[in-house]
Amino acid sequence: MNLLQVEDIAVSFGGVRALDGVGFTIAEGLIFSIIGPNGAGKTTLFNVLTGLNRPSHGRVRFRGSEVTGAPPHRLAAIGISRTFQNLQIFPRMTALDNVRVGRHLQERTGALRGMLRPPGTAAAEELSRRTALELLDRVGLANVADKPAGGLAYGIMKRLEIARALASGPKLLLLDEPAAGCNPAETAEIDRLLLALKRDGVTLALVEHDMKLVMGVSDRVLVLVEGKVLVESEPQAVRLDSRVVEAYLGSAHAGGGA
């Protein structure tokens, strides 16, 4: 079954076409990777899918219903969450509280309720703490739960963002360069995590420059070049496609391992 359908998306920034006629579908339960040289429009595409950029043209459907141009919080509510290439953690909160914010949709979030603490609040807090801690444990960060997130190492923050996004209970999780700046051990960790998430039934969309990671975990790979879809296929086919090799050899990422 198709989880996400993208039809003919176009986005322009002041006359520059960041995306042009982009269309693809992501089937439920798969890992779908989007690769391409820098400036190809990968992050812009993620921004469109999570409501941060409005497309000037085209449609996005999620589980059959149209969601084009819906605001981020509404997309989160129907099951689309993401991480960011340029980290967007909440630095002044603890790692645990970062994940608890991710549980916003599962919590009763009225301000009056918050102020008055009706019976059951302490139990709800305890549940929220425990669930957040389990998610931190899942990405291997239980040991930093009570540390301020702003002081954590880069690779740790990357995984914290994944835990936080998972807390919102996404059906589709978009990961923007989860392995960027990570050492090989951390990258292997993320590799394992992605496959485990897939086993749990979370559909993953992945933007990543680490070709070893992409080719290892992906079910489908889409190559984006200058805002247009160059090819979309299985990893093996993409790897051997002469147009892809050309697009990459012509760019700074020729040494990416493809």
Binding site: F90, V101, A111, G114, M115
Partner: protein
């Protein structure tokens, strides 16, 4: 538990113990003024410290609360307590209506828009002479409860102190609740908060409404304490004073809000000895505090203490 109840307990202890140093009704009056200002600043801190949205119009709500407590009993025969509640509801309604469009603005633009809101309220209070008494203000009634007339600085010291502790407790509960976490989240990254399901516009609006209600209740209590209201309570200088109290004490700190209010209420009283140099000295003091303790008095001191303890 300690993190939640610590600040209100500490503030309650100060309120209980401070009178040991008092020698006259005048001291109780100053104490009541500190608690009233602190309540308004706690509200402002929900907006500025927690949600990270600046307001230069907080005194507008303070003024509405003060005038509700004066106008509604005098002209419409409402009980002063009912008038206080009506003022709070009115402020919530104004904040809800005005907040929707202006909270879309960020940083300097939001500052100027809230500034305009505060000035608008002050202007209405000054110009609608038939209702408000104009620039000279109007008397506020002494409320009575079952025949007992509530008046005198000592009585208001205890009432305003109790309301402050209650206000701190509610704000503290809010801060650690999911709603408060969402406010802290949008303060750090609106984009990330949104993609996690936080309705950023709505959350900001809620913080604005909460802050307005705090300002209103504080304003009503000031009217009762003074027995008189004037439009400058809603004015620009009063708004700036609230922001100064919040920043001086430490944005986001409950105890800091009280400390900031105490500094700006008490120090001018002490400095009256120095007559014409009073404002100069207060200005220098504020500059010194901000230069030496840029994160505000209370956060700076508590991190200093924490460092000492580690060594």
């Amino acid at each position: 538990m300690l993190a939640r109840l610590g600040p209100p307990a500490a503030i309650a202890a100060v309120i209980l113990l401070a009178p040991l140093l008092f020698q006259s009704g005048y001291h109780f009056r100053i104490g009541a003024l500190v608690w009233i200002n602190a309540l308004a600043v706690i509200g402002l801190n929900v907006l500025m410290g927690l949600a990270g949205q600046v307001s230069l119009g907080h005194a507008g709500f303070f003024g509405i609360g003060a005038y509700a407590a004066a106008v509604l009993p005098a002209r419409y025969g409402l009980h002063p307590l009912a008038a206080t509640a009506a003022g709070a509801v009115l402020c919530a309604a104004v904040a809800f209506t005005v907040g929707r469009p202006i909270l879309r603005l960020k940083g300097h633009y939001l500052a100027v828009a809230t500034l305009g809101l505060g000035m608008l309220v002050a202007m209405v209070l000054t110009n609608e002479v038939w209702l408000t008494g104009g620039p000279d203000g109007m008397p506020a009634p002494r409320p009575d409860l079952g025949g007992w007339r509530i008046s005198g600085p000592e009585t208001w010291y205890w009432i305003s102190g109790t309301v402050l502790v209650l206000g701190v407790l509610l704000a503290q509960n809010l801060r650690i609740s999911p709603a408060g976490l969402a406010l802290g989240a949008l303060h750090d990254s609106e984009v990330a908060a949104g993609t996690l399901g936080v309705d950023v516009a709505r959350s900001k609006l809620v913080a604005f409404v909460v802050s307005a209600v705090y300002g209103s209740v504080a304003g009503s209590m000031l009217a009762f304490l003074n027995g008189h209201v004037t439009p400058d309570r809603a004015g620009f200088l009063q708004s700036i004073e609230f922001v100064t109290m919040a920043v001086l004490g430490g944005l986001g700190s409950m105890i800091g809000s009280v400390a900031g209010a105490a500094v700006l209420v008490v120090i001018p009283q002490v400095l009256t000895f120095f007559h014409e140099y009073e404002h100069l000295m207060l200005g220098v003091l504020v500059i010194l505090i901000m230069v030496l303790l840029p994160s505000g008095v209370v956060p700076a001191l508590s991190s200093l203490l924490a460092r000492r303890r580690k060594e």
